[in-house]
Amino acid sequence: MTPGHNQSFTAREPAVLPSLRPSRIASVLVLAVAVTCAQGQTPTPTEAELARKLDQLAAELAAVKAQLATLQQQRAAQAAQSPGTAAQTAQAPASAASAPPGSAASAQPPAAPITAEAAAAGGPSTVLSGYAEINYNRPTQQTENAQADLRRFVLGMQHRFSPTTKMVGEIEVEHGVSSADDPGEVEIEQAYIEHQLGRTWGVRGGLFLIPAGLLNENHEPTAYYGVERNFVETAIIPTTWREGGVQFVGQFDNGITLQTGISTGFDINKWDATSTEGRESPLGSIHQEMALAKARDLSLFGAVNWRGMPGVLVGGSVFSGNATQGQVPTTSRVTLWDAHARWTPGRWDLSALYARGTISDTAALNAPLVGNPTLIPSAFDGYYVQGAYKVWSRQDYALSPFVRWERFNTGKSYADLGPGLTPPALPTETVWTAGANFQVTPGVVVKADYQWFSVNKNSNRFDLGLGWSF
């Protein structure tokens, strides 16, 4: 649709549409019927006249309806290429985008920019997205613990208010059913406004994912190898980790992306020394997810990522803030940092990551908790190296076996509480994961792997998963 078409349609619209409004047509008919009824039961010549007129009106109405349908079709076709209209599917603009070269064929030269212009104006303002994971875990030593789980089902929505401002939202249901008697959770994973300030800088405000590691911001099942997310980016970096605040994003022409901001942080008062949750993921057990988050102490964060060479990503992040939130006299700072790299030459996909977290002044916090199974660690860390290779592909199908080696420790050290009271450091767990991702079509993946644990050998397990993302 050329701009010329646009104008002529808009100009014509007011002239035609008012006389075609269904409500007006209905009024005319109601009036006609009312007049008919007012004439009483006795047939008169006037009534015959009216009946004839009614027939005439009905015929005209049919014609008008046809005209209206044509107009609506035209309008829908135009809406597919203009912004600010109702939600459309992501596919619509793709096909619409291909239409302009053809429809612009008879337009005045130069015709090519029309495509670009139509596209600039033509993206749908609201786009739905989603991803899901359905997993089966079967510990081979303890088959009674085998489990099938709709791990997560996520609906995402993005709405563009203007070329520079959009909303990004994601709602997630975990474990299939969420109720007082069921294990599921319903959560808002992201809800923020992003506003582009210029070519380089944008600003986000709301609930957003913290830029940390390789997975946190790219956590869809199609984006990683293995049925389960790796342990380092689950136990040490509490993926999917989000906070509420303000974030500036700078995308530079040298391939560097800089993200920095101020946000809510952790609440160390949530630490449950009687539960093992803190051993599974120290930060996962005290994150707040903006659910009435204690916000006296805010955190600062920053991340640098370089993607200046095709297939290469090198980066790091840091997040730091007080976590006692004024609830206890102690001030305890939680800091988490990571360094990561990924290289995807040809069919290879190689990555490595190190993450380390520290919690300060834990002695004062742990003192009243002594005797409980899980005290607050002063340090925890982990790293992994992973390699995948696409061995086979045909059309959309692709098979990529992978191997991952990871070591992590969620209680690497504890602050000194005196002899006999200081908990010993936990043993460092080593996990080997070997398996394959099978891409059915881009966006749909079937995964299978086996995981060997060096400490917790009873956990050795076979995993099978189905995931999708769009």
Binding site: A94, S98, P110, A112, P113, V127, G255, R307, P310
Partner: protein
């Protein structure tokens, strides 16, 4: 406001200043116009002749057989010319990244090989690195016989797989369309 410390005041001032100084481009994500891209690709051209390629059913089937979804039977091409001689072709197209349209231009030499790729508009929150020369240079010299697939001859950008794949598919489609048109004599 009386509770504000000098430190927090200075933060507010800094942020306000940063916002005030930020450029306010209407389309912050538009980098080039199609005209500019065409001139960049063929600086020696004295004319860009707009041409519409219309494919018949049989040709569309051949595109399909070549593993390319034709998407449209009509394509708008700018033929770069100098003194009446054809230097090459420029095609402007859009693909969906993850959520949004990416507008890009492909310059193809008269031999059918990619000469240059330019990203005209990019609106996604991630993956703006496809704009970087290093990523775009991967396409230079490739013609319809190249695989043109991410994870084969085109390297991915971590975190922007969909943008990379869709632009790569788009370029493959354009290269194949031009190849078909050249062989059919529609670009002579």
């Amino acid at each position: 406001m009386s509770g504000f410390t000098p430190a927090s005041n200075s933060v507010v001032v800094t942020l306000t200043t940063a916002l005030a100084l930020a450029p306010t481009a209407a389309f912050a994500v538009d980098y080039l116009s199609a005209d500019e891209a065409a001139k960049l690709m063929f600086p020696q051209a004295d004319r860009f002749e707009p041409r519409t390629l219309a494919f018949d059913a049989e040709q569309l089937q051949r595109l399909q057989a070549a593993g390319v979804s034709p998407r449209s039977a009509r394509w708008q091409v700018r033929v770069a010319q100098r003194d009446g001689a054809t230097l090459g072709y420029v095609v402007v197209d859009d693909v969906i990244g993850k959520f949004e349209l990416i507008t890009y231009a492909v310059g193809i030499g008269s031999d059918g090989a990619v000469r240059q790729v330019e990203v005209l508009s990019y609106r996604e929150s991630h993956g703006h690195e496809i704009r970087l020369p290093a990523w775009r240079r991967q396409f230079v010299g490739k013609d319809a016989s190249a695989p043109l697939r991410v994870g084969e001859d085109i390297a991915n950008i971590s975190g922007a797989t969909l943008s990379c794949s869709h632009v790569t598919e788009g370029i493959k489609r354009i290269v194949t369309v031009i190849e078909l048109a050249r062989h059919a004599g529609s670009l002579a």
